[in-house]
Symmetry: C2
Subunit: 334 residues, 2 copies
């Protein structure tokens, strides 16, 4: 018999969860059924959207089931297969994360594309976060090389790729980040950096200096004062691709929205919320063809912050809200 | 010599303007230059967007010039012409409102389309407000007959047409209005009416009752608590066509924005500010063909609230913000 160790939550928390919310459990896996595969995970992904799945409310994904294995992006190696197209030794990405051994319907796992990069890149720059960055810019905001682009949380998993993709396209790019070290990384990559841990007025001032010509595309990951400041500097006909609002995910009482929301009217802005799979479908090949070579040849730099060991998965998750990660937050398993 | 009487403003007010802001002036008009026409106005239009032109800040239109004739939609008869295509007696619509006699470049005036309706309809249901309603629904929100549609200020010049157009298309339509009499008019036209002069929570409750299936398209004219309530009942992939936010136009300090702005992300909404001429251009013929017959044969009912005499133009303007108009607000000149 093979054991699986996995995390569960026993309730839906308000505000920032306690560490004790996450319980590590063990179970014996049943025999594989026809079509199933068993996967030993090597890398787990933690992502801000997972907070939404802990809210108990259906947002754009179902809540985590209480006292059941949590889910999330993961990368591993098949150790047993009863699926026609998948065999032992195949490396796959799938949603059976927050655990060391996953047992899934083989139709729900994806073999790695043939691109010469470290495998965990398929959880980051060439995985869901990468597709989110690319589709938000290219498909949602319809980015042009003449655009001035503002990206919040621009050193995060999604933001750091969005910032570099826009920069490579020839755009003037401003990125926000919450620490000096992150801003230095942005500046070293040709991106004008500002601090988003300020009041809306201070952010506005910084934006007016960084982008005196105004902003055409705002790639939104943060919300709160950052959104208000961005609305103030948007140019007419600007596009706002709303990918995330991490500043709001742990609020038990929602804070006020942007007082300058009328800018949407005055400047004829288009503000569009999106989630990746609804946009990228049918465009995966274009994504791999455009972004894959840039990653493989080093034109796009990606960073990872790695926690070691399954036990530390909740700590990796908390790091996202403390902002202590650089780039993609990952958990490495033995 | 011909005299023109016209309104001016001498400063850009904060908050709701005082009646004394508006000064009625008189001037002698100069001789017509080549290409110019002189028009005796019969009808003047006042519209909420004019408040923006009194702010001194460039929004999507230039501010009114201080101590110069104000501008606005108007309908009149040419009394003298030095323009090739225009002759004495022609009836035209143009932007030389807030005055009794206008002298303009003939290229800036438009002869009335050949549709059998009272002429002032070309300032309302078949003019700018009508085109705004139609293009917001058809072009911006991409309305489908299966949509549930919410329209705020649904008994105003724009809203009352939007509500009827959506209803005729087969949509389930909810309209908001600030008085009992307006809501009765809506109900009599097959539109479920709610009151938008309530708190966001009360509006939400009314909306949940009126549209238990949720709202797919929100045609926004009001802003404030109404927008917050609408965000709460929008369905996934809903579209919000932002045409106006009249509740905010006289604010000297902007009030807080919607606390539930994250709904844009969670529900993947598209929120799009628009102004009519940027969308309707090239579609005018489609508009007249679709809407003209409906107005001419009475399938679409339009209402007017009329002030008499040039002197009363500011009063007509104030009525927009008091909400005391029914449908299109007009001034009739002798």
């Amino acid at each position: 018999m093979t054991q699986s160790r996995y995390f569960t939550i026993g309730e839906y928390p308000e505000g920032l969860p306690e560490r004790s919310l996450f319980q590590l459990e063990t179970c014996e896996l049943p025999e594989l059924e026809e079509g199933e595969v068993r996967i030993r995970n090597h890398w787990l992904s933690v992502d801000p959207y997972m907070r939404g799945r802990m809210s108990g409310v259906k947002t754009y994904v179902e809540p985590f089931e209480l006292n059941k294995p949590m889910e999330g992006g993961a990368l591993g190696e098949i150790i047993e297969s009863r699926h026609q197209q998948l065999k032992k030794g195949d490396r796959v990405v799938h949603m059976g994360g927050w655990r060391d051994v996953a047992q899934l319907d083989g139709d729900q796992v994806q073999p790695l594309p043939d691109i010469d990069v470290p495998p965990q890149a398929f959880l980051g720059v060439l995985g869901m976060p990468g597709m989110t960055a690319w589709s938000g810019l290219e498909l949602v905001a319809e980015l042009k090389s003449s655009d001035t682009v503002l990206i919040s949380a621009a050193s995060g998993a999604v933001g750091s790729l969005a910032a570099q993709l826009a920069h490579q396209k020839g755009c003037k790019v401003i990125g926000s980040a919450g620490s000096q070290e992150k801003r230095e990384w942005l500046e070293a990559h040709g991106i004008t950096a500002i601090d988003h841990h300020q009041s809306a007025d201070e952010i506005k001032k910084a934006l007016k200096k960084a982008a005196p010509q105004g902003v055409d595309v705002y790639y939104e990951n943060v919300g709160g004062p950052m959104l208000e400041a961005a609305l103030d500097v948007m140019n007419d006909f600007g596009r706002i691709a709303v990918c995330g609002m991490i500043s709001r995910y742990n609020e038990s009482t929602p804070s006020a929205g942007p007082a300058n929301i009328a800018a949407v009217l005055i400047k004829r802005l288009r503000m569009q919320g999106f989630i990746v799979h609804e946009w990228v479908q049918g465009h995966e090949q274009a994504f791999y063809e455009q972004v894959g070579p840039l990653v493989a040849n080093g034109s796009i730099e990606y960073r990872e912050t790695v926690e070691e060991g399954l036990e530390r998965t909740p700590d990796a998750f908390f790091a996202l809200f403390e902002g202590s990660n650089q780039g993609k937050m990952l958990v490495k398993l033995d």
